[in-house]
């Protein structure tokens, strides 16, 4: 009986220590680096037109900071335009693997000036790191390295034009306070960023290496009528289609009747 109690005590202590270590790696790595967003939940309602997210916290004095906001990795299938004779048209389909659907990166200085290429690659910081992690595959054949680079650059152009990728430097404000350093930045959250969970990671950088990390989360969620309609369109297409046709027919007749009553030329 004592043995069993002892074994349970050891298991319990092991669990507590593991949970503690895990929480350190997930959240604030030191007493210094912290991060928080002004709101961790963005509600997409009827009048939603994007939002702003304030990221703030405390870091060690003298460290540079990199803030990365990203959605989970996935794949994107896009049509590839090319010349056929004198005409530009869709000539194939490209699949981009291991790339996030949203990627915002802000840093106190240019990323290449504060981090080695190895560190950028290790933590997925900057477009160069994204390119290395990604796979670009034509659905028909494998692309060589030069082609891959060309089409990944086109992928970045497409994402930046869609406002869901950006890399900027110098927009994080730093203030010395109580022996530490307060940091603050505002991210313009585009309405083009789809509903989902987004991970905000802040990296403290010194001597071209990442020395600390802290994380928080932003959730974008559809609510109210928007959530109801999106759910119906996805899960009950037949009913949604029927209602759509019915409303259109009703609106057409309704306006016809209004014009007749108003004596609109008939």
């Amino acid at each position: 009986m004592n043995r069993l109690r002892r074994a349970l005590q050891v298991a319990f202590m092991t669990f507590i220590i593991s949970a503690g270590l895990l929480s350190i790696s997930q959240g604030e790595l030191s007493a210094q680096l912290t991060t928080a967003a002004n709101h961790d939940r963005i509600n997409v309602d009827f009048f939603y037109h994007g939002s702003t997210v304030d990221i703030h916290g405390i870091s060690d004095p003298g460290t540079d900071l990199v803030i990365k906001i990203t959605s989970g990795g996935g794949h994107h299938i896009l049509r590839q335009k090319g010349r056929v004779g004198v005409l530009w048209m869709n000539v194939g389909t490209l699949k981009f693997d291991h790339v996030p659907s949203v990627y915002f990166l802000q840093s106190t200085k240019k990323i290449d000036d504060i981090l080695t290429p190895e560190e950028q690659l290790k933590y997925g910081l900057g477009y160069g790191a994204l390119a290395s992690e990604s796979e670009v595959a034509s659905l028909k054949d494998q692309k060589d390295q030069v082609e891959k680079e060309k089409w990944f650059n086109e992928f970045l152009k497409y994402k930046e034009a869609s406002k869901v990728y950006s890399v900027t430097a110098g927009k994080i404000s730093l203030t010395r306070k109580d022996g530490g350093q307060d940091y603050y930045t505002v991210i313009d959250w585009p309405y083009q960023a789809p509903p989902g969970d987004y991970l905000v990671t802040v990296y403290a950088v010194k001597d071209k290496r990442v020395v600390e990390q802290a994380r928080s989360k932003v959730t974008v969620e559809q609510v109210g009528v928007i959530k109801g309609l999106a759910g119906m369109a996805r899960d009950n297409g037949a009913f949604y289609g029927f209602i759509s046709v019915l409303v259109a027919l009703g609106a057409g007749f309704g306006v016809g009747l209004i014009f007749r009553k108003g004596g609109g030329g008939h």
Partner: protein, 305 residues
């Protein structure tokens, strides 16, 4: 004021879809075209994904064509008999066209065929209508009294079996003629991914020899049923109809269709034809420009037409 569109996953100033709907509804009431060939590219230009733009466009055409058909029916401009024959042909043609597109997609040539068909059809139809209307307007001034000669095509059509009189249009044709031409337009409409109004109108004017005002009402009647089918299928199979966007578009288009009908009554048939031809030619030039100038982005969203 901005509204969020739950299926397109984008936000839009409400004046944009209402204004676009009004403009396209106006064309619909004036010329009997659904306006899909204009509205879908415009919606894509304003950031709506191509698949959602095409499907939602069909939904708003249901409203605009209901409004337009109702207005034209009240003034006696809808030939229901002819409309039903064309509809039957269009339905069969649509099924054949969908299979053709499946085959072309499997071959990998679908986009090329669609684009080329689009440009050729728009160019030929627009060019022919423009020149014919111009000549007709000139001729009317000088030789109004001359009786019309029957063409070889007309003689052939008159020799076909199942001749029937279409009272509202004042023409007699074999029942096969509207079914076959309706089928032809149905195939092209399915291949090009549009309602086919801008193809159906010339068929009714030049082949079926229907009066222009009856053409407009009958075309709208036929488009209405096509678009009901397309809207339901798109919502059911692809989940790409955006209800909020459709409502905003139809607020504009239903009113526009009524205004278009009123204006249409004040214009002569040839004037209507030449304006429609001009619009079709402008769209053709824009498409040729888009096809030949290097695009700013070499990657586009998958899906759509």
């Amino acid at each position: 004021m901005y509204l969020y569109l739950p299926v397109a996953l984008t936000s839009m100033n409400i004046l944009v879809p209402v204004g676009l709907g009004l403009a396209v509804g106006l064309l619909s009431g004036l010329f009997g075209v659904g306006g899909g060939f204009l509205l879908t590219p415009l919606l894509i230009m304003f950031g709506i994904p191509s698949t959602v733009a095409a499907a939602t466009d069909s939904n708003q055409i249901v409203a605009a064509s209901t409004s337009g058909t109702y207005a034209h029916w009240k003034i006696g401009n809808v030939d229901f008999k002819m409309g039903l024959f064309l509809l039957a042909g269009g339905f069969i043609g649509g099924l054949v066209g969908v299979q053709a597109i499946k085959f072309l997609r499997a071959m990998g040539d679908a986009d090329f065929v669609i684009k080329i068909t689009y440009v050729l059809m728009l160019g030929i139809v627009g060019g022919y209508m423009f020149l014919e209307s111009l000549q007709s307007m000139k001729k009317k001034k000088t030789e109004e009294a001359k009786p019309k000669k029957e063409s070889a095509v007309g003689k052939f059509l008159n020799s076909l079996p199942f001749q029937t009189h279409f009272e509202k249009s004042g023409v007699t044709h074999s029942a096969l003629v509207p079914i076959v031409f309706g089928g032809f337009v149905g195939i092209l409409a399915a291949v090009m991914g549009v309602g086919g109004g801008f193809l159906m109108v010339p068929v009714m004017v030049y082949i079926l020899r229907m009066p222009m005002h009856v053409v407009v009402g009958t075309s709208l009647f036929q488009i209405l049923f096509n678009c009901i089918e397309v809207t339901f299928l798109q919502a059911y199979t692809n989940h790409t109809v955006d209800f909020i966007l459709a409502v905003l578009l139809l607020i504009g288009s239903t009113v526009g269709a009524q205004i278009g009908t009123v204006f249409g009554r004040k214009l002569k048939g040839d004037q209507l034809k030449i304006i429609l031809a001009g619009i079709v030619l402008v769209v053709t030039v824009k498409m040729v420009f888009d096809l030949t100038v290097t695009p700013s982005l070499l990657l586009v969203q998958a899906g759509g037409h």
